[in-house]
């Protein structure tokens, strides 16, 4: 990695962190169909092991969803598009409402690759969620999602194609992180409790435009043990980086992503949220595929 690349990455990171990426609505605001996470009960699994996947899908329009699940076995590219391009059509199933998926790692998933590539033997689970009729298709995304009412194919951003990786390991383990507690303005916030807030008179995305009374602090407590470290069976030392990502159906987060060691962000309800109940999700991820999530609700008073 050349010096220029690191500097560019650092500059990009700081720019993104400071909101210099463009005048777009934040990705933390869920206004359409989204798949926020897929959790595997075993992010690392042994060949032949059954793996259970559970998806966190949200459709703000509450439509009936059609799901597709399929597998890519040891794809050439480790990227999500690379897995989609290597999708094994024989593993594909399409079913309405199927937000979970179970499969077994192939017995030869490790032995079928050269010894040098064994640390990276993996299976990618391709998940497609469509608010309509879903079928295989040619094109950049090998799926077509048809609006049931209008009978026309939806644009690519109107449905979701995602990839969840499961790594094949005979000896190594990888636990999903845990969320110990969620706090609101410093106090414990049980899941069943719906907070009451007043909206800020802001229609844009400027968190700083709201007053201190309208801003609220949300903290997601992740135990330090969730950041696993050690030396794997191939002799590679590792220490997980764990982040918390914040999502809501309305409002502005001060930070959309935080390191788990300091997972505190601010949130305000925008004018558009007045009179509504806002759904929130907090997704914790480690950089080896582990994931956990929790959710809360906030009611915004009518202005």
């Amino acid at each position: 990695m050349k010096a220029g690349h690191v500097v560019a990455i650092a500059a990009a990171a700081m720019a993104f962190a400071s909101g210099c990426g463009g005048d777009f609505d934040p990705g933390s605001r869920v206004t359409d169909l989204r798949v926020l996470a897929v959790r595997a009960d075993a992010p690392y699994a042994v060949p032949g092991q059954n793996v259970h996947l559970e998806a966190l899908a949200v459709d703000a329009k509450e439509r009936e969803l059609t799901w597709a699940w399929g597998l890519c076995i040891n794809p050439a590219s480790s990227t999500a598009p690379g897995c989609v391009a290597a999708l094994d059509a024989s593993t594909l199933i399409i079913e309405s409402g199927k937000s979970t998926f179970d499969f077994a790692l192939p017995d030869d998933v490790i032995t079928s690759v050269p010894a040098a590539a064994e640390p990276h033997a993996s299976v990618g689970a391709v998940v497609v969620v469509c608010p309509g009729a879903l079928s295989r298709h040619g094109g950049f995304l090998p799926f077509q999602c048809v609006d049931p009412a209008e009978g026309r194919a939806l644009e690519a951003d109107a449905f979701v194609v995602g990839v969840k990786r499961i790594f094949a390991r005979t000896a190594d383990k990888n636990d999903n992180p845990v969320i110990a507690q969620v706090r609101w303005d410093g106090a414990d916030w049980p899941q069943a409790e719906v907070k009451e807030v007043v909206a800020c008179d802001e229609s844009g995305n400027d968190y700083g435009a709201c007053t201190a009374n309208e801003q609220h602090v949300i903290t997601v407590d992740v135990p330090e043990a969730s950041s696993e470290s050690g030396v794997d069976s191939f002799g590679a030392a590792f220490r997980e980086q764990v982040v918390v990502q914040y999502y809501a159906t309305e409002g502005i987060f001060e930070h959309d992503v935080r390191l788990a060691s300091d997972a505190t962000t601010g949130w305000v309800a925008r004018r558009a949220a007045a009179g509504r109940t806002v759904q929130m999700w907090f997704v914790v991820r480690d950089d080896r595929g582990g994931v956990a999530w929790d959710e809360r609700q906030v009611r915004v008073a009518t202005r």
Binding site: A10, G22, A76, P119, L141, V163, D287
Partner: protein, 807 residues
Amino acid sequence: MPVTFSSRRRCHAALFTLALLFAPPSVFAQGAHSDALVPPRLLETVEPDYPLQEKTRGETATVVLTLEIDDGGRVERAIVTNSGGASFDAAALEAAARLRFVPAARGGRAIRSKIPFQFAFTLSTTPDAGAPAPHPSSAPDKSAVGPATGAGGSAADTADTASSAFVDIEVRGERAPRETTKRVLERSEILTMPGTGGDALHAVENLPGVARTSGISSNLIVRGSGPQDTGVFADGVWLVNAFHFGGITSVVPTEVLERLDFYPGNFSPEYGRQMGGIIDLGIRSPRQDRFGGLLQFDLLDGRLLAEGPLGPKTRVLVAGRRSWVDAWLGPVLRSTGTGVSVAPAYYDYQAMIEHDLSSSTKARLLFFGADDRFLLTIRSPSSDDPGLGGEIGQKESFVRLQARLDSRLSERARFINMVAVGTNGAHFALGSNHVDGTYKVIDSRSDLRVELARSVTAVAGVALLAGHYDVSLRAPQRQGDGEVPAPIFAAPKYTLAGAGMLWRPGAYAMLELAPGAGLKLLPGLRVDYSSESAQWTFDPRFTARLDIARTPLRTTLKGGVGAFHQPPQPFESLAPFGSPSVKNNLAIHYSLGIEQQLSREVEISLEGFYKDLRELVVGRSKTSSALGGTEYTNTGEGRTFGTELLARFKPGGRFSGFVAYTMSRSERRIDASRAFSIFDFDQTHILNALASYKLGRGWSVGARFRYVTGNPYTPYVGAVADLDAGAYAPLASPFANSARVAPFHSLDLRVDKTWTFASWRLTAYLDVRNTYNRQNPEAMTYNYNYSQSQTLAGLPFLPIAGVRGEL
């Protein structure tokens, strides 16, 4: 059109002032005594014509004259007292006759006088990489001369000014280059070039054939080549990283440079292992006349330089620079919630001692290096890729100790030897990823040039670049060529380590043939071996220059063709990171052009070029097979073609400037089964217009206008959710680089004010970039799932001020 770094027309007033400083104080007592003697003062200088034959042969000389000056300041008679050879003597005498002086005076009355006077004929381009141009010799021994006599005068009316210092004029000629095109920038030009901060490597971007890079960037894109294809050398030492922090400023400051030679292509066999262009920074000799120094401060850094003689044959220079961006950037970063363990800081240093072992042999020991570092903690990672967060740090450094011996074995032979040893260290960390490497290197070259006959000069040399590397990394797989970057947060990490030796010996030979008047033919051959690809390469090269007219104005036709091999990048070929079977890249350069001198000050150069790129190393993702996750093969192909125009008003007078225009196209494909697509760094039109003007009273102003075609990019046609990263990976259109951002244009202005005092000089400057604050689009930015896009603007209006003091 060669623009040499060394000056052709030095300001002679400065030299004369220097001479006056060595003069005994009594000479300058004016008005304090009725019989006080005031020596003559050079009023109007004349630059002799450099004898063409001597220039072609590479000969230099010093001619010492005694001038008899009348009471009107005109030269009555000039006598050669120390010959430099018949042709040099004739040129000096011819010029001397046209000199004009303020006549000597005694008691306020003009008188005739006799003074020693010297012309030093030196060449501004040196035969090989990195050899500094010869410096003017120190003032020769003063010889007593008798009083001038002549019609209408008496001995009492003349002044014997033998006790005064020599009036010394340096005459530099330009050796015709041994390459098709060699461009050189004068140091005074670079220091005041608007928009560049006085940085030599950034100044190169204004020359034809060089693409504009966005923001801070270390990419030097020459005639459509990739950034790794152009090599930067300092006194023959290859600089692995030529910039601080990837592009802020060069690691070798302009103040220690003698010249910058830029070869955009078809360079001579002295240079190898690169298939793009060559930039050779020549580090200057320290001052011999007296001690001097420099102190400079600007927005980014502070610099200190001290130099001077340690005896008649020895001179030293010590310089250093340190940024203070950390002083103000640290608090700014902390205010955004970023943890700052080490605020970004850079420094570089140079120390040199040079000694004349004899009248024909010079030795130099040079110690130089640089260091960049920062360590930040970004607690709010990017939502587009949480991997861009956490601890981000860099520590990159290098140090070199170079010994150089420059010997003129005879009138016809010159032998230069250089060896440099040192280390490079690099540490990069990004979240849970890191790359660590050290490289202990030896870099050497021996170069022999012999004039075998009047029209035949032979050049031969051997070079060695070797070293021990030790690299370890934990990082995601390196993306294959043509693949779109994807989130790195939860991408599978590769933990790899490798160590070993690299050997890259090389040899070259070239003939410089002058079979006829104005015709020069330069056939040559370069042979290299690279251990990482276990490959010998043979690069024949040929350049021809024909002066179809020489007087009164020169017209030159030029052309060249040659092969240029370049070893693969270490990560492409060294196990376990790359593919050991991969071989060298190959480029074949073709160029044809014309240089037309319009006047003594104005020259136009027009050149067409074509580059055929073959056996290019391309990477393909192979996570299921390649140890490093990416497999490299030599299936890539490319082609670049275009035209360059340079119209230049040469520096030396009040006005200087140039207009550089390039029109070109650069294309690539990863294998022959695909169609060519626009290269990532292709810029169809590049226009740079620069001008500087000395207003007088120490004021100078300058402006630079640039117009560049927008950068290409590949549109995205969708995205796939990376459910491990919680971010999206874009899907690229199959038509790579089929779109462009809007064109770039900007106006940079600069003003300098210099106050000259008795023994020092103070300069203050203001360099304003993007004066009319154009929101130049640099790239595209996207929303979270790549369904929306907008352009990302580059640097806004940016004023940078600085102050410099020079002894």
